[in-house]
């Protein structure tokens, strides 16, 4: 039995594996353009994940996960950059929400010694950073992804294409996300 070269049952098996997060239909071979795509897209993929996670080393783990999925995928090369950015944002947000991230690294200590040197802005305190991640995790998924992609340097057209939005509504979505982020932080600042 052969469905695009695979048995239907094998396909079912692969779809079943999909929920574990590692599935894109392909012929199983590693893409020939992998290194080229990796070298051009890796910094942005890490940056997208780092904006969500606030940690470069965790972002690098997410980037590896995303590229491992991508390397056997049939995503057209022209769409690779957008696909990778969106996958990085979702995967990182999933890490935030599922608590798979090594939260202890950030929260446990509260001491400067544990602040990974790769973490962003010196202005942002450790506690603020924790609250930012919590707030991001509470935003509607589309807003969170649009916000992170826009702040990672994707153009309105790129964010629109990646999220299946009209370019005109990207501004609205990003604006709502920024406003919601402020409200989330204010609400939790006053209730803390």
């Amino acid at each position: 039995m052969d469905v695009e070269g695979q048995s239907v049952a094998a396909l079912v098996g692969r779809v079943e594996r999909a929920r574990k997060g590692g599935f894109v239909v392909s012929d199983g071979a590693v893409r020939a353009d992998l290194e080229q795509v990796f070298r051009s897209a890796y910094p942005r993929v890490v940056a997208v994940a780092a904006r969500v996670l606030g940690s470069r080393s965790e972002a690098e783990d997410v980037a590896q996960e995303v590229f491992l999925t991508f390397c056997r995928s049939a995503v057209p090369a022209a769409e690779a950059s957008g696909w990778l950015s969106v996958a990085a944002a979702h995967t990182a947000l999933n890490h935030l929400r599922s608590g798979r991230r090594r939260a202890s690294r950030e929260v446990a200590a509260g001491s400067a010694a544990t602040v990974a040197p790769d973490i962003a802005d010196a202005v942002v305190t450790l506690d603020e950073r924790r609250r930012v991640r919590a707030a991001l995790a509470r935003l509607p998924r589309k807003q969170a992804v649009a916000l992170v992609l826009r702040h990672s340097g994707l153009s309105y057209a790129e964010v629109a294409a990646a999220l299946d939005l009209s370019p005109g509504s990207v501004g609205t979505t990003v604006r709502r996300a920024e406003s919601a982020l402020r409200e989330e932080l204010n609400r939790h600042a006053s209730s803390d």
């Binding site: 094998a10 079912v12 470069r56 402020r182």
Partner: protein
């Protein structure tokens, strides 16, 4: 004119050229809008600070790490080439042992010297067994040699018309997509694939010996007898979500067929089913429908999947649902064509898609 929306003001900060001249002019001359623009700007700047990351990524180190991870995944494939792909195909998680099963389920005496059809799928039946037993199902290449004749090739194709042209199959249109599935699918198509299986008594004995079993002597004519297995062409329409896995797969393929060069088939089947290396739970179910040579077994583990008989367009169908409710698939035959609709969806959703398929 109306005051521009907050979304337009937000874009004005990043991409002023993306905003109409009239709106830009309005904001410049409208104090309330300039006030709103300041608020938008403050929130945008705050978000930029809160989400800021240090520049600088070690691309070489990242590439080295990815290369190692890819190589680690590759190693078993390379080691097992060239039969690996067939073996993988024939022993996928759900289809464990399907190659053996097709041979076992085949029936009909075949005349010496000719390729006679001994198996052609006309219906599908689930075989449900504990995962541990499915893992124990021997692989076809433990009984002999599997040599690809027409290799498995899968390629992305441009659209439904290209998939139809490549495969000669009708590519249906999905009536209504389930909630959360949007956009146009990508198509992947493959030509017919085939492989030649030669039974080797010596190899079968070695397999048994490795498992601490002894095989009875094979019936005359089985050693060295050959079976040709073919499947396809086929295609899959895949709806990608903005996630790294598909939201829906609709697939169609010419069902597998097996031919034999002339072993008395019932004899071979009875012998193979009697072997101590085929788990009894599987052998008993296979024996139940092995006589007709037209039932394609779909293997599933009792721990993870449930199957329910249903129908699609009047044809009997099998609905498979994972016990954690995270995926569902419906599989049915239409003449010599096997159809599947699957995805991380509910059973009623895949059934609705299957029943709503329309000819183009």
């Amino acid at each position: 004119m109306r005051h521009p929306t907050d979304g337009t003001l937000r874009r004005l900060l990043d991409e002023p050229d993306g905003v109409a001249d009239a709106e830009r002019a309005h904001v410049a001359g409208c104090p309330p809008c300039r006030g709103r623009l300041s608020a938008v700007q403050r929130d945008a700047a705050a978000a930029a600070t809160l989400l800021g990351v240090e520049a600088g990524t070690d691309v070489d180190a990242g590439w080295e790490r990815l290369s190692r991870a890819v190589a680690a995944e590759e190693r078993p494939r390379v080691a097992a080439a060239p039969g690996r792909r067939w073996r993988t195909l024939l022993r996928s998680p759900v289809a464990a042992g399907i190659g053996v099963a097709v041979v076992l389920a085949g029936a009909g005496a075949a005349a010496a010297g000719d390729w006679l059809q001994v198996f052609r799928a006309e219906r599908i039946a689930p075989i449900s067994a504990p995962q541990a037993d499915l893992i124990k199902m021997p692989e076809l290449d433990q009984f002999g040699d599997v040599v690809p004749i027409e290799p498995i090739t899968i390629r992305p194709v441009a659209d439904a018309a290209a998939a139809a042209k490549t495969t000669g199959l009708t590519v249906p249109r999905v009536g209504a997509l389930p909630k959360g599935v949007t956009g146009e699918p990508t198509y992947h198509a493959g030509q017919r694939a085939s492989a030649l299986f030669t039974y080797r008594a010596e190899k079968a004995e070695r397999t048994a010996r490795d498992r601490g079993e002894t095989l009875p002597p094979p019936p005359p004519g089985l050693d060295g007898s050959q079976f040709r297995l073919t499947g396809g062409p086929g295609f899959a329409a895949v709806w990608q979500a903005d996630r790294p896995y598909p939201a829906l797969v609709v697939a169609r393929a010419i069902a597998p067929t097996a031919y034999s060069t002339g072993v008395p088939f019932e004899t071979a089947r009875d012998y193979l089913l009697s072997l101590p290396i085929v788990p009894p739970s599987v052998a008993a179910q296979l024996r139940a429908f092995s006589g007709d040579g037209t039932t394609l077994p779909i293997f599933m583990s009792v721990e993870h999947m449930t199957s329910t008989p249903t129908d699609v367009g009047g044809a009997p169908a099998t609905l498979l649902i994972s016990k954690d409710g995270s995926m569902a698939a419906v599989v049915w035959m239409d003449g010599t064509v096997v159809n599947a609709v699957a995805g991380p969806l509910r059973g009623d959703e895949v059934l609705a898609v299957a029943r709503g398929l329309e000819p183009r």
